[in-house]
Symmetry: C2
DNA sequence: TTGAAAGCGCTAACAA
DNA sequence: TTGTTAGCGCTTTCAA
């Protein structure tokens, strides 16, 4: 690999001059500039980013922490972040944390040592404390850690309320809820939204709420149990689409007809909801937009560290499909 | 951030000594070592990886190129690569190439400037030529660029043959094929495998083969057309699961019963095949293993650049589910 | 308009 | 067993 010195030598200038034309800053005679560019061309010279990073103390890299990229919610998010990141000549680092606090902290430290310029974090376990010694900007998704950390969120509670109210509006009388794992950030809000709507119904009791883990397999099992124990349930609001698909399959195995006997609504709006039979009614999050807004805000924070906290909340949308049906 | 000099000063030694205890190499008195470690502790010192990289000419980072992480085949692959990568204290960079040669080349160059230590590439457009000036090791997935580049693949042709023969074995008489896009590396092999089995059948003609783009939406459309035009088709081998799901939905919309009237088999073995109704029979690739083997081999190549090309081929497995059924 | 030189933080010869 | 020093490749002050 040619270095800046090779270029300087060939063009008969100092490295400072080469650096100036490279970065387009400072005065440089158009004649010499031409010579330098020719030398660059001839040597196929590409500046060494590591050396630049060392000098600047910044690496032009940003990292995204997600629990597990295999969960189909996250690829779209990751894609959005990478697209924006890329457009601004940053490099994109993906970290799967498995919701493990230890992994998160390890990554945070390892990447700080690499002068990573910023972090986009989907996490339920990270605290303000953990970020205290981190000097680069951080933005959280899905949840506000604190009023001091920037974030992009959706109104989970409102969405959950909408989902539950929708089930009521189409005539469901006994509505159950399969919630996310207690460790997950948004679980609580979605549960609250559900409770907002049904808590004071005469029929309601806590047996209508069961806790899942946001995955398909487990949801299939617990839904079978729930539906077997309570055959009066005619509507389920499920805290995410993946689990909602589990409910669909559970009902199928119990020969419960959807939507005739049971209406199911999910949350997220991931593609899988289009591929099931019946297709899945859901509360759609603007996933790509969440990711790209987060990335944009992060980059802005990197450029203007003096800027204060930015918190944005995006809207969710009810998408009616075939897993719910208005009763006659 | 404290530097090695701060530590040296506090421990009353030279930076060389600090470096020695940091890297556990060279002789250092256990007394001084203790002093140094105390200073490190007290200052919360963490070595600057960028400076290390500059010196070493290696960044302890590896990159994975995939067409699009939103395609559910790739998250599992990415996960595998990250897991292995991580275990060996490397950092994982994810690049979505959209099958664009330009993007690939841009990434290759940008990351080389960052001293990335190796590349794992899923691509149909990269050539040996493109890699000529890349000094770090490269391993390709899905396809062998050339006998000079290491690779981890599966036997696509054999798998396709198995899929098609399986349809025959359960009694299908007219078997169609929905192939991948011509640009994709493995399309051709899967098509060949299909042809190996049916090409010489009396009924066979090229109308039984249509070209998809590996995505769900498009497959849904072309399958509707195919099934409408040829109502004698009683089996379809689809080049990947995502498109196979499209076929399932297309059949549903045409009121064609699966598996009674039509058997469908996919390729890949991604999770979505478990969530459809009916669930999807498929040729399963060992996706995680492909990713982790690739990462392991790459790391080995990084450590031993003198090593020659390593090419591995893994086995695929037929998974019978509900979208195919033995005719009585 | 250009160059000399210091320095980003680290490692590894070489010397002591 | 430890320290001195050069240097990885770049940018930027400062001086000319």
């Amino acid at each position: 690999m040619a270095t800046i010195r090779d270029v300087a030598k060939l063009a008969n200038v100092s490295t400072a001059t080469v650096s100036r034309v490279l970065n387009n800053n400072g005065y440089v005679n158009s004649e010499t500039k031409k010579r330098v560019n020719e030398a660059i061309e001839k040597l196929q010279y590409r500046p060494n980013d590591v050396a630049r990073s060392l000098f600047k103390g910044s690496s032009k890299m940003i990292a995204l922490f997600v629990p597990d990229i295999k969960n189909p919610f996250f690829p779209e998010l990751a894609r959005a972040v990478e697209d924006v990141t890329n457009q601004h000549n940053y490099t994109f680092i993906l970290c799967n944390t498995d919701d493990s606090h230890e992994k998160e902290v390890t990554y945070l430290n390892a990447l700080t040592q690499k002068s990573v310029d910023g972090f986009i974090i989907v996490s339920s376990t990270i605290t303000e404390e953990d970020l205290h010694h981190i000097t680069s900007p951080v933005i959280s998704l899905d949840r506000k850690f604190s009023s001091k950390i920037s974030s992009v969120t959706v109104n989970n509670r409102k969405g959950a309320r909408e989902a539950t109210a929708y089930l009521q509006s189409i005539g469901c009388k006994k509505i159950a809820h399969i919630s996310g794992p207690q460790t997950a950030s948004n679980t609580e809000e979605r549960l609250k939204g559900y409770l907002d709507v049904v808590e004071h119904e005469a029929w309601f009791n806590s047996n209508y709420v069961v806790t899942g883990d946001y995955r398909f397999e487990n949801s299939y099992e617990i839904a079978k149990q729930l539906l077997t124990n309570h055959n009066d349930i005619d509507g389920v609001f499920v805290a995410n689409d993946l689990m909602a698909v589990g409910v669909l399959k559970a009902a199928e195995s119990l020969h419960i007809k959807i939507p005739e006997q049971l209406s199911v609504i999910g949350f997220d709006g991931i593609t899988i909801g289009l591929t099931t039979t019946p297709s899945l009614t859901t509360i759609q999050q603007p996933i790509y937009e969440i990711g790209s807004r987060a990335a944009q805000i992060l980059l802005q924070l990197i450029d203007h560290p003096e800027q204060k906290v930015i918190q944005e909340e995006l809207e969710v949308t009810l998408i009616e499909r075939d897993s719910t049906k208005r009763k006659e």
